[in-house]
């Protein structure tokens, strides 16, 4: 190796090192944030999950006892089942509804911006304020929904008092908060190439077939994205149910715990009963479930069609 190439190599390495250091300097808040607010707490909560810890006394190692107790905890089982109900029933209803709304809005109707505003607005209203409004709409005696049902000749419904109706009520209310997803779908629909739709039309496809064979495949990455984000979100379902059911003494979950969700029970275990070890075990099971769900979604994502970049 001549001296000149050697010097050039050194120079190159020095430049690479410098750009590495510059890059790391810029992302240093992210590195600290990742370590302090993600990596370390994940490991630490795994440790707590094997302990009995009430914050005041130091944690006592108890092995798998928290996990064993959870297996026998009937209320925990209810919270888990209620959460799965929202994931498997609430979420598909919401996404299908949002997609249909987006399809309607994408037919180039006049006044699109007005409709878009109306459908989007509820999703940015403060959740607590909006949910308190729903508490009033759902009110069994004076709530307008029951008044309306009676006026139509139906029976009153115990929206928030009859355990058979409470979760459907939450799903019904959730439709009102769906504007964000509607807009994501609407933006996706506008990216579907017109040429493909025209080609399908020339081949004699009707609106339904065009939607099924062109729009849906082209939209599949967007749909996949919303599924992933919402599955993770629904496993953490908290505020709406908490606001609707929490009482003054701190209990929450509604009649027969029919609106007790995973994150609510975890919150109660940790911040009302100060059973930090027990709550950490719940957190880790939740983490495992979410990881598993995401892995399954990615594994079965063969239906997602990725356009090659033009």
């Amino acid at each position: 190796m001549t001296a000149a190439t050697h010097a050039r190599n050194l120079n190159l390495n020095a430049r690479r090192l410098r750009s590495l250091l510059t890059g790391l300097a810029f992302i240093s808040p992210a590195i600290i944030g990742f370590l302090a607010f993600a990596a370390w707490p994940i490991v630490q909560s795994l440790y707590y999950s094997f302990t009995d810890y009430n914050v005041l006394q130091p944690p006592i190692f108890i092995g798998l006892e928290n996990y064993r107790d959870l297996l026998n905890d009937r209320v925990y089982g209810i919270a888990l089942r209620n959460t799965l109900y929202m994931v498997f029933i609430g979420l598909p209803i919401h996404l299908i509804f949002d997609f249909l709304m987006a399809l309607l809005l994408a037919t180039q109707i006049r006044g699109l911006s007005i409709y878009r505003t109306i459908f989007y607005l509820p999703s940015i209203t403060p959740v607590v304020a909006a949910t308190i409004v729903w508490l009033w709409l759902f009110n069994g005696q004076y709530g307008i929904l029951n008044v309306f049902l009676e006026w139509l000749g139906f029976q009153r419904i115990g929206w928030l008092t009859d355990p058979r109706f409470t979760k459907p009520s939450l799903i019904f209310m959730g439709l009102w908060f769906g504007g964000n997803t509607i807009l994501i779908y609407l933006a996706g629909l506008r990216d579907v190439p017109v040429s493909l739709l025209e080609a399908a039309e020339l081949d004699g496809a009707n609106a339904l077939r065009k939607t099924w064979h062109v729009t849906l495949p082209m939209m599949s990455p967007v749909i996949f994205y919303t599924i992933i984000i919402n599955v993770i979100g629904y496993f953490q379902y908290f505020t709406e149910a908490w606001v609707l059911t929490a009482t003054r003494d701190g209990s929450a979950g509604g009649p027969l715990n029919s609106m007790l969700f995973y994150a609510m029970y975890l919150y109660q275990s940790a911040f009302q009963l100060f059973k930090m070890g027990y709550a950490s075990a719940q957190a880790w099971i939740l983490f495992a479930i979410v990881l598993l769900a995401t892995a399954v979604l990615f594994r079965t994502s063969g239906w997602v069609y990725y356009r090659s970049e033009e």
Binding site: R16, S19, G23, A25, F26, I27, P29, A30, G33, F34, F37, P41, I42, Q44, S45, L104, L105, T107, I109, I118, F119, Y120, I124, T125, P126, V127, V128, A129, A130, I132, V133, W136, L137, Y142, I144, V147, W176, N180, I184, A187, R190, V192, E198, L202, N206, A207, T226, Q236, V243, A246, Y262, A263, Y267, A270, F271, M276, Q282, A283, F287, V290
Partner: protein, 297 residues
Amino acid sequence: MRASKPLMPPAFSLQSLGLQSRRRQNALMKGFAYVVCTLMAVAYVFPLYWMITTALKTDVEVFLVPPSLFPKDPQWGNFIASTQYIPFWLYMYNTLVICALTILGTVISCSLIAYGFARVKWPGRNLVFLIYLSTIMLPAQVTMIPLYIVFRQLGWVGTIWPLVVPAFFGNALYVFLLRQFMMTIPNELSDAARIDGAGELGIFWRIIAPLIKPALATVALFTFVATYRDFLGPLIYLTEQNQWTISLGLKMFQNMYGAQWQLMMAAATLTMIPTVILFFLTQRTFIEGIALTGIKG
């Protein structure tokens, strides 16, 4: 940013082909879309209408059966009464302080981080970015307890710091959004500045920062809405009544004096006003921002 492309092909191309039935079908579809969208729009607006009209009723009229669709004698005083019944202005002030600090921290940290991922070439950056991005999927519950315990040891429970300080260490979703935006800026701009002897911070501040203003506005807006709506964070950390945010305060007061519906609805209306005004002022930023997060995901 993005040109809006019509979904349906323009009518003339069909006409020229003589596909009369297709056109009728399209017109039918459109009519159907109008009817359904309008009905749905009425349903979507109704809860807000009911909130405002309830807010204007007297405590007797609220419980009228059947209810009056419009308040007989609008009680505008209810809005003032609700701000005394709940220490509304104090809670609004608390909320806005948290929002302002959170926005400041998020905008500064995320733009610097995004610059490091988008504009500086270093070995391994794509892998690191992918790992960082995966934190979006981390449920808050997993980190909640250890963080609470640390903040408690720092003496921060009962202060706003646990809600604000993490914002200064980046947010993967917004970093992603800003990075996408920065990558569209041609490298020649930075290279020219480098030749002129500018340092990376100088390039960031003088060249990139001004160009990404629209994306920064989106991040600021989304951060505001998310912070303003947050409930679980304040519920855990704001243990003193005089520190409560408006969302926390609303829930606590609803628990204490649940039956004063006209005052609760007045307070709910007032709470919604800032986000609604902000939305109308910045509609484009909102809508483009959503397209950006949703599509490129």
